[in-house]
Amino acid sequence: MGQEPRIGVYICHCGINIAYKVDVEAVRDYASTLPYVVVARDYKFMCSNVGQEMIINDIRNYQLNRVVVASCSPRMHEKTFRKACEKGGLNPYFFQMASIREQVSWVHEDEVVATEKAKELIRAAVFRVIHHEPLEKRYVDINPNVLVIGGGIAGMQAALEIADAGKLVYLVEREPSIGGHMAKFDKTFPTLDCAACIMTPKMVSVGQHENIKLLTYAEVESVEGFIGNFKVRVRKKARFVDENKCTGCGECAKVCPVSLPNEFEYGMTNRKAIYRPFPQAVPNVFTITKEGWSPCRSACPANLNAHGYVKLAHEGKFEDAFALIMESVVLPATLGRACPAFCERECTRGEVGGSIHIRLIKRFIADWYYENVGTKPPFRVDELKNEKVAVVGAGPAGLSCAFYLAKEGYKVVIFEKEAEPGGMVRYAIPEYRVPKDVLAKDIEVIRNMGVEIKTNTPIGPDGLTIDELFAQGYKAIFLAIGAWKDRRLNVPGEDLDGIYTAIDFLRRVNSGERVKVGNKVAVIGGGNSAIDAARVAKRLGADVTVYYRRTRHEMPAFPEEVEAAIKEGIKFEFLTTPIGFEGNGKVEKMELIRMQLGEPDSSGRRRPVPIEGSNFKVDVDSVILAIGQVPDSEVFGKFGIKLNRDGTVYVNPRTLETSRKGVFAGGDAVTGPSTIVEAIALGRKAAYYISEYLKKGSLDDVNFPSSLPTVDKRRVLERRKVEVIPRVKIKELPVEERISNFEEVELLLTEEEVKKDSGRCLDCAICCECKQCVKACEAKAIDHQQKDEIIEIEVGSIIVATGFKTFDPTPLRRYGYKKYPEVYTSIEFERLNNASGPTEGKIVMKNGKVPESVAIIHCVGSRDEKYHPYCSRVCCMYSMKYAHLIKEKTGAEVYEFYIDIRSPGKMYEEFYNRVQEEGVHFIRGKVAEVTDVAERPEEEGKLIVVAEDTLTGRILRVPVDMVILSVALEPADGAEELARILGIAQDKDGWFIELHPKLAPVSTASDGIFLAGCCQGPKDIPDTVAQASAAAAEALSLIMRGKVEIESATSYIDPEICVGCMQCKSVCPYSAIDYDPSLGVCVVNEVLCKGCGLCAATCPNKAITLRHFKNEQIFSELEGILL
């Protein structure tokens, strides 16, 4: 403890802030009775010079060696009083502060209680200060870089001030351009000078200043550290345009097919998905709004960009649409007919008028292309490569894989056992669904890409082997042998004549054979091939019944196919299954048993179980078994390729590699019977991995390009009001015609219908990645793959200038905002009046007419306890600005409905007078409501503003053409989040709190963080700019100081006690503790130590003390409290 403590205690009245609750004299008298207290005084303002002098003199006169001040919070004046002690020749750490304002007088009602609490806190401080020790000062260097958050007028001003002083500024703005609200204004009050004329040059100089690092479309994610040394992480959102390459020419926007409400114009106009908020934007570059993938695209197994080609179709750009399709799938014309169209099931339009005819649009695009362009591939081979790849099987999977490899430049040969390529599509899908010539064109495109198809060349026993293929120099092999082997029932009589398997049956019909099915045909099964077989048999003139062992609900066949079958007069018998066939040589009778559904099986469907004794027989001429297929794959087993139990080929699910190196597999051969589009998807995936394999030899760290998250339909429907538009009706061949032939059932959409239906697209993802912009961009600036990037910066101080947003008056239903089109918010009117706004500055109504009378309603959302109790400060003035502009531009009658006119400011009152003299009607009364219900003839067709003229006591009904709501200012979105990140405080209304309203108006409670502009509270442009300069000055003065004093409270390890267990070392967040092996103890590196005290609390032996927060100091403080 050193020499005998001599303590001086000083109680501050803080004007009356403390004195009105705390009996300061009583407290002073009490303090003087405390141990070692030599002198105790009270004074009005201890923080004033006089107060400080008092301390300094007492130190000298009474040889004080300890000082306690009871006043505000240490955040406020601890530094002040420490300095005072220093001046008095005392080590500043011989000082302790008791907060009796923030912690007593301001928060407690009862005077007596408050006084008692004050006494205790002072007692605690006295007890504590006794144990204080001298510490030497510590300084840290100030990093001279500054971060400014927010690129509005405040942020720009601050940034320029600092940059001009030669210091580096990072300016972070979350919008694509700087400029903030002021960039939206046309004129500014009271001088009516044009905002653009002030803003544009400022914005340009910010954009070009060598000391300003501009980070637009970026947000601060986290801030660590202290005054002088902050570490900041900034997320730079992907704008999908290279800022350095983009020249701002705008060609991209011209071709972008997606438009949406323009936020900058508050939805009064539309913008494209690729956009620039306004022509003078800085940086003058474009940005793409991309919210992920549209549901249609995510739903597609091949992730085919339906959104994209639907938009292009709408624009009539069918050739580009075809190219876009071919980027993800082959056989577009086929898919346009026979695809289950998972996309349409997910289409958001489904909920508002029925999904878009995505499949038929694809069909139209393909047919159009073949008719108008031919079958040349829509894109060129990237660059030719030497490697050869063999593909086994010319079905959808094989063709797809081959096509995309060929596109990459590989030499690809397909080996097909059948006479014609196309696999199942060619041989199992009936003509009436996919005509052969259509498939032929689809395949022609693939051939033209350079793919060679060898038909009638099986691989296997009666052909080449895998080894031979490798021997012939093929570097990789893709197996796409499909699933052609029909499952069997294994019941008696299954081998009788007249019993076909579905695939075999369809194959024979599709090969042109006239199959005799007789009159009564039974089809067994519920899958797509069952339905196909049934409909084909129907067309062969038979009376067809489908027998399925489950119910319609469980049928795997596509609902629409089943529908069509029923339409065509095909009968269905559910919950029945054959248990045997009779007849001599040829089948005549079929015995069936009824089933009922039991427990769900592995497939999740309820397993059917036979009902005892429910057997019955039916007469049949032929039976078609369509109970599923499996790959015909044993032979490949022999080639050393691992197979699964069900005969499918085993592959690595990620890379599609088989057990044999260089051999890949996909399609039905891997998945079992599936859809065309799934096969094609696997084909393309295989192509990707094969190509990578051939380039890299290994696929360990290779991954198929990942998909984007799917956009949430709800959000899409909330974006704007969506009215219900029914889908275009499709025409079908009349039933009687169909069943007599194999003509295509579904008829084409006309070009008009395509354009109409595609026009219903809701642009779920906003950007549809149609790549038109890429095509249009000379500068090659667009990069749809761009990702968010995290930028780490280090600064010494931070200026927050995040501004405000305007109040949304929709909840104030009585003013009819959004109900009556001629009711505008003030900020909307700013745009309406702006020369570069939606009407080029003409003040006109939605119907184009000039308003003859306009009402301006003040205090909308301000001075209202239900919304914002505060006055928004700028509304009166801008309202009068509007009044002037409206008069000037239209000569309309203008009515200002106000409660009180607030025009405190240089030349403001004068402006008020001017507007009065211009003949604007000032009506003192808050508007009760705006209605369109006329009571008098002159009110017809107008908006009637109802209010009491409080000066005459009359109730007025003023008919007007246009109403402007002068809406309140509120804290910007995300203010709360930012407050948390920065550790600064918000007041009850959400504005950031300054350290002191008078003495430190732009500082915050966190040292080194300053405020500028409306984020601290509503204010006009002059005040904002002034505050911005002030904040800049604060930051600069900090920089000029070069270093800043920091807490000297660091940890110290007593080597006598330390056992070197290193627990402290393990917990220290700043790795400020090292182990000294020579001594076997831990040592604190004081430069790194930030004095949190974690180590001290952790040390099991209590070998660590945190200076100024030592145990005995805390303990004695406790005793002081609890005595």
């Binding site: 306890e865 239900k866 109730i955």
Partner: protein, 182 residues
């Protein structure tokens, strides 16, 4: 009755203190369906009180013609429960007996009270009969309507009191006793 004293009393009324928060914006008056038949609009009425012209205020019919649609209360930017204050005034004025004699509503409400205290329920017919004693002309003017309603079987002259009318009257009696004790 001394104005200042009354102001104190008003402020003590439930929600009464809120009167002092009024910023005279006139939203209440603009929203008031009955404002046209009021001597003073609700806003002006509050102005009288705030400026201490209490006597003038209580003589006004403002609070009596309040139809209690609560529009003002919903819309008041200061969150003043205006309608409730109007009720408080009515009650106070009855207690002190200074309500505007010419205001028919007061009579109507009295008749109303008499009827339900007698029968436990209201009957428009009985109400009108009683009201007739107090405001003969006004009621006479409604005769044609009465006839029309009668034809539509929408008037019942015979009212039977509620079952437990005795118990009900006891409750009323007890209430009155309770009221007499402050």
């Amino acid at each position: 009755m001394e104005g200042k004293g009354l102001l104190k009393e008003l402020v003590r009324l439930p929600g009464g203190r809120e009167i002092l928060k009024c910023i005279q914006c006139g939203t209440c008056s603009g929203s008031c369906p009955m404002v046209e038949v009021m001597d003073y609009s609700p806003r002006a009425f509050f102005a009288l009180i705030k400026s201490g012209q209490i006597k003038e205020a209580v003589r006004a019919n403002t609070y009596w013609v309040c139809a209690s649609c609560y529009f003002c209360s919903v819309r008041c930017p200061r969150g003043i429960k205006i309608t409730d204050i109007m009720y408080a005034f009515k009650e106070l004025s009855v207690k002190k007996g200074f309500y505007p004699k010419k205001e028919p509503t007061t009579k109507l409400y009295e008749s109303f009270k008499e009827v339900i205290e007698k029968y436990g329920r209201l009957s428009e017919a009985k109400l009108m009969q009683r009201f007739a004693f107090k405001k003969p002309l006004l009621v006479l003017s409604k005769a044609r309507l009465g006839l029309k309603l009668l034809l539509k079987k929408r008037i019942k002259f015979r009212v039977k009191p509620i079952k437990n009318i005795e118990a009900f009257r006891r409750v009323i009696q007890r209430t009155k006793e309770l009221e007499s004790v402050p």
